[in-house]
Symmetry: C2
Subunit: 489 residues, 2 copies
């Protein structure tokens, strides 16, 4: 008998007997898998969903439940706050956020369809309070809906597309809206008769000729054969917890110590590539450190070990953090004055590396040569007084001179401080959710969505909060709908 | 009948008849393919070599013919010049040059075997004058042997391994030693009875069960089936001329306009992945611009558009160039004083962007805010007078104050100036040249070498001249020897 392997499909002719028969088999019960299941069921397919854990969630369940939505004149929350977000601007931002890795087709379709997707989420029961919360937030600390969750208002993005806040957060008190979001999607799936099998890990695809016709799942220590008459949807997440894959495809993540996810071991990527799929942009990763908590720290200035600035600090915290991790020497410094310094959160594991009555003193305490950091801050302060940052284009309101001592330099060490990270590379899929082979053709019967694919959040330096859940939920739906079509693709 | 495809092997049972029968089929007649053929023939295998062009060469034939060799106390040329290069230092440098992408096993084996490889090259007839040419050279302009061809003497490498020059160049007047190098290897292969078929492009592998047993080549517009009883060696080069692959795997190369290679379309990578192989570090690329020509420009200082330095300029020109391409704004400036400025080479396409009697004037001409570039140069000059570069660790002799005006800023625009580049990612192979699948197991009958693999030159930021040809020739030999073994792997 052929081997049961992640790396190559099992031949259908050797299947000893089907333990389950369904139209669509969805693998993974995060937001992507849940949305795929809902749409497949709505297309009248029989749907089974297999999850390796004992319940739903995945990385989505650990998230803030924030979805990046805009365009079409704006959502209710955007319009109520006075943001008339055009599809043109929204789409342009999506492409800019994808940088050199942007999937134009996905940006275009989501750009057009985001508003109706938002309506769909509400129709599933996802509640939104509908209000706008100004300021700099990682997630709302109350139950507000709309926050700035990307680099929209920061250079160069603000020159590419008219800025608008687009992070839409489920109504939920405090952080952690991902868990109730997945709960609602799970309920919607179950209400449609989706059959959920937990503690069932996918270990192989089943192939008949060139077509994927099923999946082998490991249940109670036995291989169970699932026939999926229309298609299989992979929604298994990224590979942040697979060190061997990270070493081969994304070794820069070894600079960091805080992977986030839920058993994201890249299994879906391996299954897809084994079936002839194409894994792209595998070196891309998201990272962020909570440097804007407390919010007054958003007014700070970052420098590298040479005392040089490297980013307009009004960008999204993840973009700032990703650029920080590019800097040499394994650490960067966040410079603050007395007006803006507050003790950082314990969990951020940032330390005070230098203090001084002047920036010269801080420079000296950090062991930097005279005329480096002090010159950087002289130029910064001189122009900040005029409301300008000619070097990096940082903007008000957080562009303010840092010239009232005493001054502090916080050290953000990539290994010691809290830099969470997850991977962004994965299977290349069409906007319809079909897994594409290396020639760009759809693999019959095989679909994928979420972080086992390369999608809207394709580029670490352009990540914005809510892009991944937007991608998971929207293209999860498309994948489910495509998989449900009789005869599939 | 199954499709003839780069993307999946053709089933042996459908082969209509074998047009050629051999023990080892080598695909590609650059240095890697030539060395594989020689070793396979020396192991008493029948060897056929298929090349898509009308003659040998590949990217190797376009190169300088420089091979990175050291360790074991030093080569004849190293010892004659007073460099007793230890295997420990040599191996440590190889690993540092590979950075986060280093293949430890390949570094170790080449570290131990490089001296005997050098002797083998001589035994094939490769001539070396045996002398050392001091200074900063891209390639020798005479027929000298030994040059500094990497970042050995520059921070941080000089602190990791005791520096020694290791670029060994074939005796050949002027640039372009790659062509005579390949000619010699070709002659050595032909002398052993290797049957060379030119104008023959590989279009598919042939598989019997899990084993690769042959290859389909396109000759005179017809598919010809080649049975390779022991194995197939892929030596087809990188993918710098395949824009679709670059878009998917290495999009940062679109910043640049001067690919170098010889029809390197990634076909071998596709063939290998189609057979179950693993393509790794696909985002890595080499680039360089000829900024050290004239040599006096090596004394210059690089700044980005913010007027900040970003590298110790005594590193290898490719490392400096690769770090330059990381800088924002699409260009960098090379700063020179009157003592060191010479008109740049026409082909470099660098232009004078600013001049001045003081660095303040240059800063102003470049449109940079006061106190940026001028502060950078004040700090640089102050410490250079003491022979120090506390920020980046640049060293003498090219660390000298640039304080005698008039001054010049040359603009190196990534799109407009000459930045040659080629790709470094490719198939994951064992040190024996076996193509490994994603589980790390050797694919029976399939071997690879050179730039269709990820090898010694794995990391663009650590590239050193001669690493790629060292990798091609040495691991080409190993691949040929492994493929020749009866029963292969």
């Amino acid at each position: 008998m052929a081997e049961i392997s992640l790396y190559r499909p099992f031949p259908a002719e050797e299947v000893p007997g089907w333990n389950f028969e369904t139209d669509v088999a969805v693998i993974g019960f995060g937001a992507a898998g849940a949305c795929a299941a809902i749409e497949a069921a709505d297309a009248d397919a029989r749907v089974m969903l297999f999850e390796r854990n004992s319940g739903s969630g995945g990385a989505s369940g650990l998230s803030g439940g924030e979805i990046y939505v805009g365009g079409g004149g704006g959502t209710d929350a955007q319009r109520a706050a006075g943001f008339d977000d055009s599809t043109k601007d929204f789409t342009a931002y999506l492409k800019a956020a994808g940088g050199p890795c942007a999937d134009e087709a996905k940006c275009e379709v989501y750009g057009r369809e985001a508003l109706s997707h938002y309506a769909w989420l509400k129709a599933q029961g996802v509640p939104y309070r509908g209000n706008y919360l100004p300021g700099k937030h990682i997630e709302p600390t109350d139950d507000s809906t709309l926050i700035w969750s990307g680099s929209e208002a920061a250079a160069p993005f603000c020159d590419i597309a008219k800025p608008a806040p687009r992070g839409h957060v489920i109504q939920h008190m405090g952080w952690g809206g991902g868990r109730p979001l997945v709960d609602i999607l799970e309920a919607a799936a179950r209400a449609r008769g989706v059959e959920v099998v937990t503690d069932a890990r996918a270990v192989a695809l089943v192939q008949d000729g060139t077509r994927i016709v099923g999946v082998v799942v490991r249940i109670d220590n036995a291989n169970r054969f699932v026939r999926a008459a229309h298609g299989v949807v992979l929604a298994t997440g990224g590979f942040v917890f697979n060190e061997a894959m990270r070493r081969k495809y994304c070794p820069d993540t070894f600079k960091l110590n805080d992977p986030i996810g839920d058993k994201d071991d890249g299994a879906g990527i391996e299954l897809g590539v084994g079936a002839g799929g194409d894994a792209i942009h595998m070196e891309q990763f998201f990272t962020t450190c909570p440097w804007t908590m407390p919010e007054s720290h958003a007014y700070g200035v970052f420098v590298n070990i040479q005392g040089q600035r490297f980013i307009n600090e009004d960008c999204y915290h993840g973009r700032v953090s990703r650029c920080a991790v590019d800097q040499p020497g394994g650490k960067v410094y966040l410079l603050l004055d007395n007006a803006h310094f507050v003790q950082p959160m314990d969990f951020a594991r940032m330390s005070i590396a230098g203090t001084g009555e002047t920036w010269d003193e801080v420079e000296s305490e950090l062991g930097m040569p005279a005329g480096t950091l002090s010159a950087t801050m002289a130029v910064y302060n001189e122009h900040a007084r005029d409301g300008r940052d000619p070097l990096f284009g940082k903007r008000s309101p957080i562009l303010t001179p840092l010239d009232q001592g005493p001054f502090v330099a916080l050290e953000l060490d990539f290994q010691a401080s809290y830099f969470s990270f997850f991977t962004l590379g994965g299977l290349r899929t069409s906007a319809k959710g079909e897994v594409l082979d290396r020639a760009g053709m759809a693999i019959p019967g095989l679909f994928a969505a979420g972080r086992c694919t390369s999608g809207l959040p394709a580029w670490g330096h352009g990540y914005s909060s809510g892009l991944s859940l937007a991608d998971c939920t929207f293209f999860g739906r498309y994948a489910g709908r495509s998989a449900a079509a009789p005869g599939g693709n």
